[in-house]
Symmetry: C2
Subunit: 190 residues, 2 copies
Amino acid sequence: MSIQARRERERADRERLIVSVARELAETEGWEAVTTRRLAERVEYSQPVLYSHFKGKDAIVAAVAVEGFADLAAKMRAARGSTRSPQKALANVAAAYVAFAEQHPALYDAMFNQLVSLPFATPEAPAALHAGFDELRQVVRPIAGDDNVDLLAEVLWSGLHGLVSLTRGGRLPRQDHERRLALLLSRVSR
Amino acid sequence: MSIQARRERERADRERLIVSVARELAETEGWEAVTTRRLAERVEYSQPVLYSHFKGKDAIVAAVAVEGFADLAAKMRAARGSTRSPQKALANVAAAYVAFAEQHPALYDAMFNQLVSLPFATPEAPAALHAGFDELRQVVRPIAGDDNVDLLAEVLWSGLHGLVSLTRGGRLPRQDHERRLALLLSRVSR
DNA sequence: TTCTTGTTCCTAGCGACGCTAGATTTTGGA
DNA sequence: TCCAAAATCTAGCGTCGCTAGGAACAAGAA
């Protein structure tokens, strides 16, 4: 009995190890450096072990992405803090979102580009995902007026994501990034 | 003299053929089906001829993307037409943008996701790219107020791109797509 | 018309990828 | 101590982007 418990514990540890090594490798060298061979080598197991934990490479990327969503949600929560002014709260959370994307480009990639198959706008979506979206909802509520809060949160999210992803892809010059963000917020918030 | 001209003409034809076959293959079967082998087979040449035209596969994708930018710019231009009302013009152009992304997902992917190395926010950027951005500028000018027109055009672009790409990735439910778009426009345009 | 020279193009193959079948080692219990 | 089962590895499949080196071809000279 206890011995099986130990085995399960070890398996869970190894699974966490795989995910964190994948994440670290992606964050330091980019996703193109994350191959099943390299990953297996760093985890100090052979390739097939990866497939006893995850259905395929995509599933590993997905696991990393879920970590990313949790981190992002936490960052946004912290940024909102106990800010009184709705405008300030909005600005802080938006800035946190953008900063997260800039500081963790590979993670952000996994969350929004790499991956297509994570359940999202459904109840089965990871909790961290709902938590992150809730932050946007909170911060948007005071400025929604007659508009639907959920919809406005989604629109804000779209604006932030668009800004971030066009900038990261070189589509927008990095130069006026701050001004664009400020303009987006000022327009969205009236 | 004339014979070399013929050769150059044939080379140019073949290059166009490669790009259009790549585009067709991508649009019908997705980019993961566009391999250099399959492409070469459909063009009825061997793989290495691709590399005598393009530096690598990325360059072929880039060529397809440039076609995409031209098409998108044309669609937006047509949508604006001679619309009188600034609001209507904005709505039409935005709808055209979104429709293009929905009708040509693979093309849109090449333009905004697949590719990182196209020169963008610089003078060397393909003309079609400037043309497309100009459309946004035109349509945004009347609603800019005291704000910088270029910046507002970029913000609008970000919003549209965010909406499109989150929806396409399953991050936003397709259901209220229209309402989100309307909300984005109403917020941005005051 | 035949030969030579330079270009064009293809065959074959390299290293790396994600993934898996089957052999081998390790493990815990009889 | 031995055995069955579980865990793990070795080896390899098919595919990828890309390229070296040779074969086939065309154009000008003899």
